[in-house]
């Protein structure tokens, strides 16, 4: 990733322009050709710098009001296999392994669930618990009560 790639990513941070030729619009802003913009974005997608290009849905606005960060304590030796399974559940948007900080924070597996009702979210959490089975040694769910800030790159890191 070089400086031109970074400039392209920066220019598309707020979204692609809604013009008939969005890459041409970007190219003009950046002093590049549209071919170069498209080629570089394709290359960044192939190399994994870009995960995907598309519409980023806003779950909350679409009626998913019960957005829970579910956190689980599972054995480290099992987490890769369990994380793969949980990540494949259709209602899980993100699934991460993060370190524990005992005693304050015993959880090492994070999965974001999105429900339109509390019952729907509860059902999703139950399905995750079923996947983890006997490996689940502890769990908690943290619902977001307020979005205080959300800007810039949605690096899917939250």
């Amino acid at each position: 990733m070089d400086d031109t790639d970074r400039r392209i990513m920066h220019a598309t941070q707020a979204g692609l322009p809604l013009t008939p030729e969005p890459y041409q619009t970007l190219a003009e802003q950046l002093g590049l050709s549209k071919e170069e913009v498209m080629q570089r974005m394709a290359a960044m997608q192939t190399s994994g710098i870009i995960r995907r290009i598309g519409a980023v849905p806003n779950h909350y606005q679409l009626g998913y009001r019960f957005n829970g960060m579910t956190v689980w304590d599972v054995p480290d030796e099992q987490i890769d296999k369990l994380g793969q399974h949980v990540g494949q559940l259709p209602f899980v948007s993100h699934c991460y392994h993060r370190p524990r900080h005992k005693p304050d924070w015993p959880y090492n597996l994070f999965a974001m669930v999105h429900g339109k009702t509390q019952a729907e979210a509860d059902g999703q959490i139950m399905q995750i618990a079923e996947v983890l089975g006997e490996y689940c040694r502890g769990r908690d769910v943290l619902y977001s009560t307020k979005i205080l800030k959300k800007t810039g790159f949605r690096s899917s890191g939250a």
Binding site: I50, R52, I53, P57, I147, S155
Partner: protein, 152 residues
Amino acid sequence: MLTDLHKQLLNDFQRDFPLSPTPYRDIADTLGATETDVLAALAELTGQQFISRIGAVIPPNQIGASMLVAMAVPEAELQTVADQISAFPEVNHNYEREHRFNLWFVAVAASAQQLQAVIGRIEQQTGYAALQLPLVDDFFIDLGFKLDWQHA
């Protein structure tokens, strides 16, 4: 009110947005709509914030270093501390959650060293300890999020 076109645009184009000179016309051709309709529908979806944006999604830590941080803040001080944290340009997500750790934010910086400096400044300014939860592994499976319209 979401039309069928809105729903198709939301569900079918979370990935594989065309990298072609006229992507909106290509989408219109796929859906049997006109380019004008597609552009208008996408403007409505972004205007009403049903989609945050149309663009590239980048995996965590691809550009710079990022950290998920949790803080336990007394209820009475939560808003003040949250405002202090949101004021940092390096903070791009900040959520209040129901838990003893009630403030959750993501900080991003150009390097791991700069990231630690930012988190240090946040701790110093707020007076609360940052529980740092870096990403160890991302169990990413590229299926997108299937939207459910029945209860919309």
